[in-house]
Symmetry: C2
Subunit: 195 residues, 2 copies
């Protein structure tokens, strides 16, 4: 249909989440109309990032420096660690920009059925990190799923020996949320934690 | 929030149609997880296409060769030209793969209100092309909008002097379409053209 090179580009773009073949075609057409302002900068940004990207050996974040810009940040509180499941959770918390501490990315949740045990997550590293650096508080921000809560519970047990303070995110009604659209679990949690 | 390079990549991706900031972030995260299989090939495909892309001087198609692979195709019927508004219309017809002739991309429609006159479209080139090459039939496949139909009408007038046969796409009920969901214009056209 289209030239082989353009077809190849469409196929690659269509593999991104959120883009299907149709929107990939639209995106390519739009880029073909302005190759200098969009296509070449995008190619360069992709190549630069692919070559520079690395996983932070301290927290597990993906960045172009190791340690990542959060672990290396002088404006962060180095005595608080927020534990998240995946890098996207870290990014979500950073967007809120109300947390000024450090992070620890587990790389998933405990899931015996899928064969994911404690050794597959960065839990040992977390315990070592807490023990060796002057951390005062660990905030568990795993998801409110069964696996997420199991993982949070397991980490709490493991951290007991370090004597660090362990907290969890509050559960309740989202800001701007309507009660009518909330699931029962959230409503129950919000009622129980009323203040 | 994220490193500067990654932020820049997300911003560039978010400018593509069909991708917002949220889906651009998801796409970047997915790519960061497999830089070798997705990120670098995509960067290369973008760069190659940006450097090689050109507009076919014969038909106006965008391709990496000039004339494009359709105009240069030995398996195409060179005596039929299908006139379309934009490159995406050409691609749509090629996906159907039932048309084996050549194309002519106008680059838009006549639109006096927007200041688009005949000289802004590739209409003169079409008339010259029809006169100088042995074309038997011109199929007008402009959209069924007021501007599209005005343009088709204008081109028909211009082609009278060349004596070429001018046809238009049939209007009617789409294959698989349900009458209930069709607009009145299509229904009227389908009734009028019943066979």
């Amino acid at each position: 249909m289209t030239g082989r090179e353009i077809d190849n580009l469409i196929k690659l773009l269509a593999r991104l989440p959120g883009l299907g073949p149709r929107s990939a075609r639209r995106a390519v057409l739009q880029m073909l109309k302005k190759p200098e302002t969009l296509m070449l900068p995008l190619a360069k940004a992709l190549e630069d990032t692919a070559h520079a990207m690395t996983t932070c050996h301290v927290c597990g974040n993906i960045d172009v420096t190791d340690p990542c810009h959060i672990c290396a940040g002088t404006d962060r509180q180095h005595d608080m660690i927020c534990v998240v499941e995946e890098v996207q959770d870290l990014w979500a918390l950073e967007r809120g920009s109300s947390f000024k501490g450090l992070y620890h990315v587990l790389g998933g949740t405990l899931s015996p059925l899928d064969g994911v045990g404690p050794d597959d997550l960065r839990i040992d590293q977390l315990v070592t990190r807490v023990r060796e650096t002057g951390v005062n508080e660990v905030i568990l921000a795993t998801n409110l799923t069964v696996d997420g809560q199991t993982t949070a519970h397991y980490i709490t047990e493991r951290l007991v020996e370090t004597g660090v303070k362990v907290t969890r995110l509050a559960h309740g009604v989202p800001v701007g949320g309507e009660l009518d659209y909330l699931d029962d679990g959230t409503l129950t949690a919000a009622l129980r934690a009323r203040s």
